[in-house]
């Protein structure tokens, strides 16, 4: 009898070049994404050792981490940022690597740009010197973040030396409640399991909730699997996936596409395949979420109180956030709202936000930064007229990039200020020195921007007459 395999096994095993007895395996990498911050040292390393880039055609570069989100047509002001961007350009030119530089029609955050161009496809292995590479797992790809030494290894050999991770399945069945978005689902899971629960594992997300989710939603979920400490997350490819990939710039075309789809359809976990770890949740238990602390696992339902147990880590976090144990966040004044990052800067996220703010006005105390994930998202926002809705409500769209997600450019939340953010990390100082981040969905972020404070968005349950 054939060994029962999981989705992860099937993709992994199809990429093993060789196994070293008693050691790691050589895993072949199909697509290597690079950006300006984690690639320069890798290029230098190869140069130093006089090793050529092995497969430049399988590398795609974008500029995103360091780029300004206003006046992108002007030279970048910050000298160090400009230098990193110039080095990326030089390195890509020198090695014939496709670069979507600042201002290019395909420029954007690496994990937004690659899926929408059809670079990301089911069954692939993909890496990037960026932990949120896990995003691409939404397509049934094995995608994970690597360090700069590994970027150099992939440059040199299009392969990595790795030990096969363990397998975890997280199943969520049932129907999601009103106003519960993919972001809430993943924040809920992390709050239940903790930020180290996924360590050494690759996660498969399974069940009705993910099957019914759009590709954008699946990307949001897989994006944050790294916040559980997992190497990555993935979802079996299905008709939703194939329909999304079809017709995109780098997607296979015609007969080639049909052949690929036939293969992609085999990428499902076999019925009795085994996982090292399994968790199951009920969709109806999930409500809109928000984080109160300084790691993404410190999340609560929007309308519940901050925990009140005696725990040194909790206390340290609350001290940084200037919150009290056992209190509610509802009514908390917030002066900054950020809708963006590779977690929530796709068209769907802006549709949700636009739908909520339509006909309303931004609260005067709010500084709202709406940062689309890519130039193509900007274009789509305009085509759908969402920009007009935002403008009428008092919001201004910025230009694409990582922006306040990690505050490497000028988009920094000031010291001590609160920001309701659709990004993925609420670490101390993540959005600027002293900044205080509350992670939430684009809907909660939009509602905060209108109210000027945190408000409940749960539609009240109708009393039976």
């Amino acid at each position: 009898m054939k060994m029962k395999k999981t989705l992860f096994d099937k993709v992994w095993d199809a990429h093993v070049v060789d196994s070293i007895p008693n050691g790691p395996q050589i895993l072949y990498i199909d697509k290597h994404l690079i950006h300006e911050v984690t690639s320069p040292q890798a290029f230098n390393e190869l140069k130093k050792r006089n090793i050529p880039i092995f497969r430049p055609k399988q590398i795609i570069a974008t500029a995103d981490h360091n780029t300004p989100t206003v006046d992108q047509h002007l030279p970048v002001k910050d000298e160090l940022s400009r230098n990193q961007l110039q080095q990326l350009q030089q390195n890509c030119d020198e090695h014939n690597i496709q670069l979507y530089a600042l201002g290019h029609q395909y420029n954007g955050i690496v994990h937004v740009m690659a899926p929408e161009l059809g670079i990301t496809q089911p069954g692939m292995t993909m890496v990037c010197g960026d932990s949120h590479t896990s995003t691409h797992g939404a397509f049934g790809a094995i995608a994970f973040g690597i360090g700069t030494s590994q970027v150099a290894q992939v440059f040199a050999s299009q392969s990595l030396l790795l030990k096969k991770p363990k397998k975890m399945r997280i199943t969520v069945n049932g129907n999601l409640q009103n106003n519960v978005l993919p972001k809430d689902v993943i924040l809920y899971i992390i709050s239940k399991l903790g930020t180290d629960s996924g360590t050494e594992h690759f996660i498969e997300f399974a069940g009705d909730v993910f099957e019914n989710m759009s590709m954008e939603g699946r990307m949001t979920v897989c994006n944050m699997s790294i916040e559980m400490g997992a190497r990555g997350g993935m979802i079996a490819p299905d008709e939703t996936t194939f329909a999304y990939v079809a017709g995109r710039k780098f997607a296979p075309k015609g007969a080639d596409f049909d052949k690929k789809v036939a293969y992609w359809k085999t990428l499902k976990t076999d019925a009795s395949a085994e996982f090292d770890t399994e968790y199951t949740f009920d969709a109806s238990d999930i409500t809109p979420m928000i984080t109160f602390g300084t790691n993404p696992g410190m999340g609560i339902p929007l309308t519940e109180n901050i925990p009140s147990e005696n725990d040194a880590n909790l206390e340290k976090s609350l001290q940084y956030m200037n919150f009290e144990k056992g209190t509610s966040l509802i009514g908390q004044q917030v002066n900054y709202v950020f809708i963006g990052s590779c977690t929530n800067s796709r068209i769907e996220d802006f549709r949700v936000a636009a739908n909520y703010v339509e006909g309303k006005q931004k609260a005067p105390n709010i500084n709202a930064w709406l940062v689309p994930g890519s130039q193509l998202v900007v274009q789509q926002i305009k085509e759908e007229g969402l920009d007009k809705i935002f403008e009428a409500a008092g919001f201004k769209l910025r230009q694409p990039g990582c922006s306040a997600c990690l505050a490497m450019n000028d988009d920094k939340i000031p010291d001590g200020e609160y920001c309701v953010s659709t990004s993925n990390r609420n670490f101390e100082g993540r959005q600027g020195q002293g900044s205080r981040t509350l992670l939430a969905s684009p809907l909660v972020a939009a509602a905060t921007a209108i109210a000027g404070k945190i408000v409940a968005i749960n539609t009240p349950v109708l009393e039976e007459a």
Partner: protein, 194 residues
């Protein structure tokens, strides 16, 4: 790259859990294009107050502590994959990090820079932290060959992938190995679907 096998050193005790790589090296210091000099900004926002003055309460600033070993709380190195965190620790002078748990990507990055992450039990870690706090001159002995870490009368063994162990002992790295396998990789490409 340097090689190492056994050595003895005092250590810095940093009893904080879930230390993420944004704390180890904040994003605003990631704009360099070389690997050098990151030690200066290691734990920047914990080492210095916002006005730039030294935070005397932070362990790296306390004169009584010294050495090339960092002993840190559970889930060290979580968050961003930035290898700059490993570079900063190494540049500052750390060869070994001891914790009860390491985040995956950080562990790989550390090993790739010949910084040894040693995972011990929470009980061993707790005893070690107390020992250093009570006596900053506590010497810790690391033996990579035997895969043991010891101080006073306490001793624990630790796991390391045999391949990674060999790399550390001989000063090899993965690039050399992969490049020596290019013919196998090319043969694989011939039959690969993508």
């Amino acid at each position: 790259m340097s090689t190492f096998n056994t050595f003895t050193s005092t250590a810095f005790p940093l009893a904080v859990e879930n230390i993420d790589t944004d704390q180890i090296i904040p994003a605003r210091f990631l704009k360099a294009t070389s690997r050098d000099g990151f030690g200066e900004n290691l734990f920047r926002d914990w080492r210095y107050h916002k006005d730039g003055s030294l935070n005397a309460d932070f362990v790296l600033n306390q004169q009584q502590y010294s050495g090339s070993i960092l002993v840190a709380g559970h889930n060290f190195g979580c968050g961003s994959s930035r290898e700059h965190a490993a570079w900063a620790l190494k540049d500052f002078g750390f060869n070994v990090i001891i914790s009860s748990f390491f985040a995956d990507i950080f562990k790989g990055n550390a090993l790739n820079n010949h910084v040894l992450p040693i995972q011990v039990t929470p009980a061993f870690l707790a005893k070690l932290l107390v020992a250093i706090q009570e006596n900053p001159n506590t010497e810790i002995e690391v033996n990579l060959e035997a895969q043991t870490v010891a101080f006073g009368k306490e001793k624990a063994s630790f796991d390391i992938n045999p391949y990674k162990k060999m790399c550390l002992q001989k000063g090899y790295d993965d690039i050399d190995f992969l490049v020596s396998n290019l013919s196998k990789i090319k043969a694989f490409e011939q039959q690969h679907i993508y």
